[in-house]
Assembly symmetry: C2
DNA sequence: CATAACCCTGTACCTAGGTACGGAATCAAG
DNA sequence: CTTGATTCCGTACCTAGGTACAGGGTTATG
């Protein structure tokens, strides 16, 4: 009969508060990204506001480009006492983000040059985009 | 007994010349990205140098960020007479590339600010990266 | 107490872009 | 003619990040 004030939420309420689906909660449990609270005999599992924060953490980190595997590593640092490790993870992510930006800029330049050749194209010459790709200048 | 000069290659030679695996050739055939030449009775399929160019085209376009579905559309324009359509496909890809660059730059700024807060962190304060993510400033 | 709404567990399915494999047929070399 | 390498065909498997059931049990509402 003692009140369980610390774990008041059903999985549906947790999902709604964290703006994900119930299935996503269960998926994260299977991946050990969030704990699976004990199930009282003949009853259902209950969740806390800490769990809501944890799911939101996952969604925030995903928006920053972290994979679930990387997020699992960050969550192991949850107590905040391993700042150097967290920083190392964030900085390697920063490096890969910068690399992606550079790669995309290269692609942008190539595509720009292909499409601009369409302008000075005269009638009955082949399409520069297609012929550039077929003639394979950057493999 | 007429010579089949136009289709001299086995699938293994095609794969090697296009720098992909035999399995990848078959996968592209299943996806109708490249044709499956007829199989002479009791013999094996033969491929041409045109097929090599076509596979290389696919690989080049992939490096430019096109999906196989988009590449299938480009390949339908292979004769080079549909320049306007090819240009439209390339330009919409250019727009999505620019959007990705912008998104990544936003992430870069956020991550930079998180990691730089680690510098001015005093002992026994929680890690700014973790606490920023837990406190969810950009959901 | 009836009934709807929700929860639990396990499993299957989805996209994208392939990779891997088993068993039979064919080809190339000696 | 034998042996080893390729080819063929169908099917299964892989990663990532979920989504979608089916067939139960539980809970909340009137």
């Amino acid at each position: 009969m003692s009140e369980q004030k610390s774990n008041p939420l059903t999985i549906g309420q947790l999902a709604k508060m964290a703006s994900v689906s119930v299935e996503t909660i269960r998926f994260y449990q299977r991946k050990h990204l969030i704990p699976t609270p004990p199930k009282p005999y003949g009853s259902i599992r209950r969740y806390s506001l800490e769990d809501v924060k944890r799911v939101r953490f996952i969604k925030s980190a995903q928006k920053l480009g972290f994979s679930l595997a990387e997020i699992a590593n960050l969550l192991r640092l949850e107590d905040g006492t391993h700042c150097a490790e967290a920083k190392a993870i964030a900085e390697s992510k920063l490096i890969s983000i910068r690399q992606k930006i550079a790669d995309l800029k290269t692609l942008e330049k190539i595509l720009e040059s292909y499409t601009s050749n369409c302008e000075n194209k005269t009638n009955n010459t082949p399409c520069p985009i297609i012929s550039n790709l077929f003639n394979d200048p950057f493999v």
